[in-house]
C-alpha cells in the first residue's frame, strides 16, 4: 500500500478517525434515515402498496447521502487544511478518491441500518435491489464528493449542494428504483454501472480543477 493507493487510504482513514472522535456525521445520518422512513409510512396512503415504498426508499437514501455529503469537506475547510492537502506531494485526485471512500463508508453504515429497517417497516428487498443500492452508493459518493467540493468553495454551500446534486442524482434514482421493482433488473443494474464508470472517471479527472487556485 504505497504510492497513490497508500495516499488514498491515508486520507480516507483520516476522515474515519475524525468521525470516530467527533461523531459529527454518522449519528445524524442514521437518525435522519430512520426518521425519514417513519415519515414515509405516514406519507403513504394505506393502500399504496409496496411499489410506492420502494420508490420512497430511494428518496430516503439520496437525501441521507446529501446530509453526509454536506459535511464532507467541513474538516478540510477549517484551518486551511485543504490548502495543505493541495500542496502535498501527491496526485490531487487522490484527495477526491479518499473522500469518496470515506463518504462511501458513511453511506454504507447508514444503509446497514436503513435497509433492515425498510424490510421491517415496509417490504423485503431482493438481491437485485441490494446490488442496485451498492452500485448507486458508489455513484452517489463519486459524484457527491466532487460537487460537494464545488459547493464548499461557494458562499452558500448548504443551500447549493442539493440544487447541484439532485439533477445529477435523477439517473441514479431511475436505475435504483428500476433495479428494485422491475422484472428484468439487469438493464437497470447495467445502467447504474455505466453511470458509475462515466461519472467516476469525469470526477476523477476534473477534481484537480475544483480545488486548485
Amino acid at each position: 500500500m504505497t504510492g497513490y493507493l497508500g495516499d488514498v487510504a491515508a486520507l480516507a482513514r483520516k476522515d474515519l478517525r475524525l468521525e470516530l472522535r467527533a461523531r459529527d456525521t454518522l449519528p445524524a445520518m442514521l437518525l435522519f434515515v430512520l426518521a425519514t422512513l417513519v415519515v414515509f409510512h405516514f406519507a403513504l396512503p394505506q393502500d399504496a402498496g409496496d411499489r410506492a415504498a420502494y420508490g420512497l426508499l430511494w428518496v430516503a437514501l439520496v437525501f441521507t447521502s446529501l446530509l453526509g455529503l454536506a459535511r464532507a469537506w467541513v474538516p478540510e475547510q477549517e484551518a486551511g487544511a485543504l490548502d495543505g492537502l493541495v500542496l502535498a506531494p501527491t496526485d490531487r485526485s487522490a484527495i477526491w478518491l479518499g473522500k469518496t471512500v470515506a463518504a462511501l463508508a458513511f453511506l454504507g453504515a447508514a444503509e446497514l441500518v436503513a435497509l433492515p429497517a425498510f424490510t421491517l417497516f415496509f417490504a423485503p428487498l431482493d438481491a437485485s435491489a441490494l446490488a442496485g443500492v451498492l452500485l448507486a452508493s458508489v455513484g452517489i459518493c463519486a459524484v457527491g464528493s466532487l460537487v460537494s467540493a464545488m459547493a464548499a468553495a461557494s458562499r452558500g454551500r448548504e443551500v447549493l449542494l442539493p440544487l447541484v446534486f439532485l439533477p445529477l442524482a435523477i439517473p441514479i434514482v431511475v436505475g435504483g428504483v428500476g433495479a428494485s421493482i422491475s422484472d428484468e433488473p439487469g438493464k437497470f443494474l447495467g445502467f447504474l454501472g455505466l453511470y458509475d464508470v462515466v461519472f467516476a472517471i469525469l470526477s476523477w479527472a476534473a477534481f484537480e480543477y475544483v480545488v486548485t487556485e
Binding site: P167, P171, V174, G178, S182, E213
Partner: protein, 228 residues
C-alpha cells in the same frame, strides 16, 4: 470592435430575414399535417429550438474544456454565455413543448414525452449553474468550477436521456410516439430553414450577450482599479 460590429449587424439582418422566410414557409409552403392539423406547425419551431439548446450546451462544454486545457481567460465568459443561451432556449423548449402537448394530447405536461422530461432535468441542472457561479468569488477558482460543471452537463445529457428512456418502462407501460406521417419535401425544407434561422438567431444573441458580458467585466476591472 470595429471589425466585429458590421459583421454582427449583417448576421442579425440575415437571421431576421431568415426567420421571416421560415415563418412564411411554415404557413404557406409546408402542407398541413393530415393527423394533427394546424397545431403541428409548432414542430417547426419547437424542434429547432431544442436542437439549438443542445448546441449551446455543447458549445459551453467545448469552451469549458478549452478553458481547463489552455487556461485561456476568455473562454470563461464564452462558456458562461453558452450556458446562458442554452438555458434560455431550454426554457423556450419547455414552453413550446408544453403548448404542443396541450394541443395534441390535451394536457400541459406529460411525463411520457422523454424529450420534454430531459429538458426539465437539464433546465434544473443548468439553473443551478447560475446559483453556483454567483456564490463563488470571481477569480480563477470560479472559472474552473464553472467549467467543470459545464462539462458535467454534456455527460448528463446522454446519461439522463438513457435514464428517462428506462424510466418510461416502469412509469408508463405504453409510450406515446410522435411518429406522425413521414415528412414531405416541403415540410423538411421548412424545417431546415426554420432550424437555420433559429441557430443563426442564437449565434447573434450569443455574440451580443458575450460583448455585453465582456464590457461588464472590463468595467468592473476598471472600477476596481480606480477605487481608492
Amino acid at each position: 470592435m470595429s471589425i466585429t460590429k458590421p459583421s454582427l449587424t449583417v448576421l442579425a439582418t440575415v437571421a431576421a430575414t431568415l426567420s421571416g422566410v421560415a415563418v412564411a414557409m411554415i404557413f404557406f409552403v409546408a402542407p398541413e399535417d393530415a393527423d394533427q392539423g394546424l397545431s403541428q406547425k409548432i414542430f417547426y419551431v419547437h424542434v429547432p429550438i431544442a436542437l439549438t439548446a443542445y448546441a449551446c450546451f455543447g458549445l459551453a462544454a467545448w469552451k469549458a474544456f478549452r478553458l481547463l486545457t489552455t487556461r485561456g481567460l476568455r473562454y470563461d465568459l464564452e462558456s458562461y454565455t453558452g450556458v446562458h443561451q442554452g438555458t434560455i432556449f431550454g426554457a423556450l423548449t419547455l414552453v413550446t413543448g408544453s403548448i404542443w402537448a396541450k394541443a395534441s394530447w390535451g394536457v400541459w405536461w406529460t411525463w411520457s414525452s422523454n424529450q420534454l422530461v430531459l429538458f426539465l432535468v437539464l433546465f434544473l441542472f443548468y439553473c443551478a449553474y447560475f446559483m453556483l457561479r454567483f456564490s463563488i468569488e470571481p477569480g480563477p477558482r470560479r472559472e474552473r468550477i464553472s467549467a467543470v460543471y459545464a462539462l458535467f452537463g454534456v455527460a448528463l445529457v446522454p446519461v439522463s436521456f438513457l435514464a428517462i428512456r428506462l424510466a418510461s418502462d416502469f412509469i408508463h407501460p405504453t409510450v406515446f410516439t410522435r411518429d406522425g406521417p413521414q415528412m414531405t419535401g416541403e415540410m423538411f425544407a421548412a424545417f431546415c430553414v426554420s432550424w437555420a434561422a433559429i441557430t443563426l438567431l442564437a449565434y447573434v444573441m450569443y455574440r451580443v450577450e458575450l460583448a455585453g458580458k465582456r464590457t461588464d467585466a472590463n468595467l468592473r476591472e476598471l472600477r476596481e482599479a480606480l477605487a481608492p
